[in-house]
Amino acid sequence: MLLELHNITKKYDNAAVLHDVSFTLKPGVYGLLGSNGSGKTTLFRIICGVTKQNTGTITYNQRDIHSNPDAFRSILGFLPQDFSYYPDFTGMKFMLYIAALKGINKKIAKKRCLELLELVGLEDMKNKKIRKYSGGMKQRLGIAQAMINDPEVLILDEPTVGLDPKERVRFRNLISSFSENKIIILSTHIVSDVEYIADEILVLNQGRLENRGASAELVNTISGDVWESVVEASKLDEILADYVISNQKHTANGTVLRIISKEKPTPNAQQVQPTLEDLYLYYFREDANK
């Protein structure tokens, strides 16, 4: 089971959204980290065959996915970002509809849909119209539909949006239980979600794959670049303008800032252990400054 992207480039009106992206994925959970507009959604859509790349190829088990797209779609599960459901369908009906679109036998589909709805905690809501679902429920339904065909490749674009902390924990457990012998790629802004469940993280910055590796490995690449410093109120504005700040906490002695910087930002700054959130800000500091 091998998903390979070779030199994927995508342009819209001559502006490149993805630049020569290449990577190989084996079974496991991958977190795609990137700021808004970094090309995550475009990359997902290209893998799912919904958008065509300008150059490059994607192969699954050494076969170009475009040479037999139906076969690839049969083993694909996709939760896109930002879409609306059919409000007058019940959760169960929507699941069965997607099952029919995925070509799953009616009897098997019903059983599978019930199992998945139970798994995402929607069994009590299965016969209620989707218009009555909360944002979190819709997101869980989206996750369930992506898994109907027991996909070998599961792509989840911002799956934890709208989920409360309890639901996020449930989601993480669900993905972990599901991840055996599957390639799961997910993107999220909630860095901790990726940190907990991803075996490997891919950093996509302005359409380029900047780095990849296990969470700890990537975090180590910026060890020595994260500082903590207590700053007086009078100097606060100056520091905030000059550095990327990952955290700010007010104490009786002044404001404690967590600063990402190659150099020591203040005389009293102390090096601290970096986190994935710091890494995110390190890569996307320009967006953070905006």
Binding site: R45, F78, Y85, K93, A100, L101, Q145
Partner: protein
Amino acid sequence: MRTLVKYEIEKIIQSKSFIGGMLVSLVVLAGILFIGFYYSQLHISGEKIGDGTELYHEVVKESTGEFTDQKVKDILSVYIDRYQSKESDNKTFDLFSWQIGDTFFPKDIDIYLTMNEAIAQNNKMTIDEINLKAIEDLGFTAFDAPLTIGSYVTWYDLYKVNDQLFILISIITILICSIVFSSDASRNLNQLLLSTKFGRNQLTVSKIIAATCISTFVFLFIQIVSVVCFYVYNSGFGGWDISIQTNFSLKLFTFPVEFNQLQVFLLVVAFHFVSMLSIVGITLFVSSITRSPFSSLVISLGLFFLPKALTEFFKRGIIYKLLNLFPINNYSIYNFLSLLSSKRDFLLNSFIQNVVFTMIVLLIAKVVLDIMVYWRMKNNQIA
């Protein structure tokens, strides 16, 4: 595939625009039927509503038969006798005979003024005093079998109602089909649907089948309701076998084909059905290239009415003839019979050739547009 068609039908009939559109359409349908039949000129042309129809059926009963000069003379003789009769209150208008009189009375004298003067002088005008026009002089088409005359006013009312119903059916069809693809696009759902196994093939076919089935159902429902109302209004289907040339409301005396009124009605219904299929094809195509149901609806309605507006600029020539292929220019029974039987207005030489040609063109349009929709969805890319 059947499961997908079922879901697609459900999606359409559960949509707000369909439910709202159907409710409004039912009101409009009731209005068309009420005005077209119950409130028709025939039905209200007496002191009480219904007197006119009662008189009409009496007159039709006496007048039905072979269409000859003598028959016309007999009908008009009875008509002017009744008009001048002292017993008659003259308040119930005999539309049947009036229209025949309007055709056969000479134009150089005002027969009604003359009759009124005769009544004032206690005299009575007779049919022999009127120099009626001859059937031959009016150019009625002759066939091997003689033309027949009988109930035609009610059939003309059916034709008028049918014309208005076609516009209603077309608008409902456009409303139904405009949401089929564009609503998924507006929900941003295509990215999900197109990533599934059947999202680019069976789903498109299912949507086309669902939209065509619902439009067909609406078409049949409206036609059946209309025919039932006509049956009640006309007290049956009397007059079905009367020659279309002797429909004095329609005034197509020279129509070249030997059709009775029922044959014309059935032919027009079949023609409207094929026209509706082409509207389904055009609207589904528009729906597949637009991202919102509203823009799809507006563009489709624009395309439906546009050929009518263009005939104001192109009044002859090949473009005019091509514009007459569009449903909006030939949907009315009068236009259907007159345009398609005219070499000046249509492409081929005979009515039957033109009917067959137009139906084939409309069916080809439907099939080609469906193939284009399928092809487009198969290769659809989300930007």
